[in-house]
């Protein structure tokens, strides 16, 4: 199925059909991104479904997902392209034995055979036929030089390789940039994007998400879990559990052949929702130690 976003309503329904429960605001942003051909900049706490947006878009447009995971020290040669130097060296040796001239050799070794295509170049090359979804994940982890470089690429999807020439994408890929907000991303980059902040889901939304992601689940368990998560997210934890934690948790409960939540299950599977020793300690001491408190959670 290939999609064309015609209206916001359509985006909402299509996202729902693709098992992604989104609020209208996000649908609006995605709609605009498609219509205006602008990248989307998604921010939010870990585990609220930022990366998932890109995956769903890939499914909706029946295209390829090209993912660029950012890290400190990421640079042009690992994100755009690089010449395969060892292979070139070997080729030079071989060609020299044949007695070829430097000019000829140069032509051979600087052909696309020796070009290692990294995600950004691949996105540009493949978007001529069917624009892929380009996911630039956790941009906040990369350094500023890379940000500046990315800016250049995102503004016109054009790359110049000195030895080959300029390559320009005829159509623009759908670009989704995500950030965990460990640092502020430069304004110039944000200016080129549509910004959206994904919050923790509401009770209703989380319930819907559970029901679509895990269709076979007991109604009672889903309800219990959503209520539990809603309560637990109010507590001041170092890392509050996101939706991915909710889904993990339910899956582990099901794997343990339990049909509903009780005190025993919670303690046994606490590691699924709380990921820091401090949080687990806090939960056990401040919440679970109190009987009345315990009862309100289940």
């Amino acid at each position: 199925m290939t999609s064309h976003f015609e209206s916001i309503e359509q985006v909402v329904t299509e996202l729902a059909e693709a098992h992604y429960i989104a609020d209208r605001a996000l649908a609006t942003v995605l709609f605009l991104a498609y219509q205006l051909q602008k990248p989307v900049f998604l921010e939010g706490e870990p585990g609220v479904g930022k990366t998932e947006v890109a995956v769903v878009m890939t499914r909706l447009f029946d295209t390829k997902l090209i993912r660029l995971q950012c890290y400190e020290g990421l640079d042009a040669s690992t994100s755009l392209y690089e010449w395969n130097y060892p292979k070139q060296l070997l080729q030079i040796r071989l060609e020299e034995q044949d007695g070829k001239k430097i000019d000829e050799i140069e032509k051979i070794i600087y052909s696309s055979r020796f070009l290692i295509k990294r995600p950004l170049l691949e996105a540009i090359l493949t978007s001529d036929e069917k624009p892929p979804v380009l996911l630039i994940d956790e941009i906040d982890r990369s350094d500023e030089e890379f940000e500046a470089f990315l800016l250049e690429v995102l503004s016109d999807f054009q790359i110049t390789i000195p030895e080959i020439g300029t390559i320009k994408a005829k159509k623009r890929p759908i670009v989704i940039v995500t950030s965990n907000r460990t640092r502020d991303v430069h304004d110039a980059l944000k200016r080129r994007c549509l910004y959206h902040w994904i919050d923790y889901p509401s009770l209703d939304k989380e319930y819907k998400i559970i029901m679509t992601k895990l269709p076979g689940i007991e109604d009672r368990l889903a309800e219990q879990v959503t209520r539990f998560m809603k309560k637990i997210r109010v507590v001041d934890f170092v890392k509050k559990p996101g939706i991915s934690e909710t889904l993990d948790w339910i899956q582990s409960i099901i794997a343990m052949h339990r049909q509903y939540l009780d005190e025993e299950v919670v303690v046994e599977t606490l590691g699924c929702i709380l990921k820091y020793q401090e949080d687990i300690k806090k939960f056990k001491e401040e919440i679970w130690a109190n009987k009345d408190e315990r009862a309100t959670y289940i």
Partner: protein, 416 residues
């Protein structure tokens, strides 16, 4: 509250309808242009409004917002809000403020629109009949924005236009609850101007490090593919480590709220900085700050740090620091920042000894004292008097303006 974008458009729509009926057959495109013109003015005014509230608004966002609004059905408040927000908000602070500001703007516009409407019924009539006279509506818009500017004069002077503004000079402790967020936005802007670069990129080197194959090959082309020269590369690492020791006793938490995010927000520095809080004893809060919002962190610290807002023992706390963390954190690649007003109830001898040790072991010791911002400040209290000779830089940190100076100093001394 009826939605005035819609109203505005409806009137636009009527105009074009009327025009069609009257004589000229305007193409679909023309309608779009007209709508766009009306919208553009409104969006531009909204952008100014946001700017006045401390938002970082780009010219291109206004353009994009208009383009976006044209694409969507403008009858739903929710959709307009979402479309505008996607274009104008650039961080979650702005995101959270957006909806309220949006409504406030709507409200204001209604007020300003209603007045001229009653005053100038004739003009409105004229407008209906002469649709292409955009001038009228422009004049109206201008007048409205004049009124708005008058109302918001304080804001404009405060944040948007004057560089050294009142907000920058205001004592950080005097911000009330409502202003805190505004000041935090201003702080974010200030932080952005400082760039302290660290880099893990490779840098060419003559003799040691990893072999730089790319460069060897490039250079070997000169000699027909035979690599005659070897090149190496190594990672650049150029930043000192920042250690912040912050006093959280008494009224210092008000300054803490601004100074700490400022220091941690400085690019390149913040992510590696270690932060300690002390009152009568010392606690590491690096972990906490990394995972929490500053307001959350303050509530947390007040619970976890013993005697929050109690007396202060600077000497003992510094002693704890050098005992526990000194081996790791105290060396010539460290810059220590102490944030304290200098009121000390602990032993003077210990403070002197510890300050000497800090000064000897760390590269640079900076003392930030909010009180020092007051005109005619003299280090009267004993603690400050003892510490002062062992401090390399003594700066006030009581306003956004003085924080800019701290930032400038740091961007000089952090690099080696």
């Amino acid at each position: 509250m009826s939605f005035s974008f819609r109203r505005y458009l409806r009137s636009r729509h009527n105009i074009t309808q009327g025009m069609r009926k009257a004589k000229i057959s305007t193409g679909h495109k023309n309608t779009g242009v007209l709508i766009k013109q009306g919208l553009a003015g409104k969006v531009a005014r909204f952008a100014d409004f946001l700017k006045a509230h401390g938002f970082n608004v780009f010219q291109s966002s206004v353009h994009d917002a208009v383009r976006g609004l044209i694409k969507i059905d403008i009858s739903k408040r929710e959709d307009i809000l979402a479309a505008l927000r996607a274009n104008f908000a650039t961080n979650n602070l702005e995101w959270s403020l957006f909806e309220d500001l949006f409504d406030e703007f709507q409200h204001q516009i209604q007020l300003t629109e209603d007045t001229p409407q009653t005053e100038l019924p004739l003009k409105r009539e004229a407008q209906k009949e002469l649709p292409d006279l955009e001038v009228f509506s422009d004049a109206k818009t201008e007048r409205a924005s004049e009124i708005e500017i008058e109302e918001k004069k304080e804001w404009l002077e405060g944040v948007a236009y004057s560089p050294v503004s009142t907000i920058e000079k205001k004592d950080l402790a005097r911000f009330d609850k409502a202003d805190i967020r505004l000041a935090q936005l201003a702080l974010k802007k200030i932080i952005k101007t400082f760039k302290i670069h660290t880099s893990r990129r490779y840098k060419g080197k003559k003799r040691s490090g990893k072999i730089d194959l790319a460069r060897i090959l490039r250079q070997s082309l000169k000699t027909g593919g035979i690599p005659l020269k070897l090149f190496f590369r190594e990672k650049k690492k150029r930043l000192k480590r920042l250690v912040i020791i912050a006093d959280v006793s008494g009224s210092m938490d008000r300054y803490f709220r601004f100074v700490i995010p400022f220091l941690l927000g400085l690019r390149g520095v913040g992510s590696r900085a270690e932060v300690f809080a002390f009152s009568t004893s010392l606690t590491s809060i690096t972990f906490m700050l990394r995972h929490m919002d500053i307001e959350e962190a303050i509530t947390h610290i007040s619970l976890e740090v013993p005697d929050w807002s109690g007396g202060t023992r600077i000497g003992y706390s510094l002693h704890q620091f050098s005992e526990k963390f000194g081996r790791k954190l105290l060396n010539q690649r460290t810059i220590i920042i102490i944030l304290s007003d200098g009121w000390d109830l602990g032993g003077k001898e210990l403070l002197k000894r510890e300050m000497e040790k800090l000064n000897r072991k760390a590269k640079i010791v900076i003392w930030l004292n909010p009180l020092a911002g007051e005109p005619g400040y003299q280090p009267m209290c004993k603690g400050m008097k003892i510490a002062l000779p062992h401090v390399d830089y003594f700066l006030p940190a009581n306003s956004l303006e003085s924080l800019i100076r701290v930032g400038r100093l740091l961007s000089k001394v952090m690099i080696y």
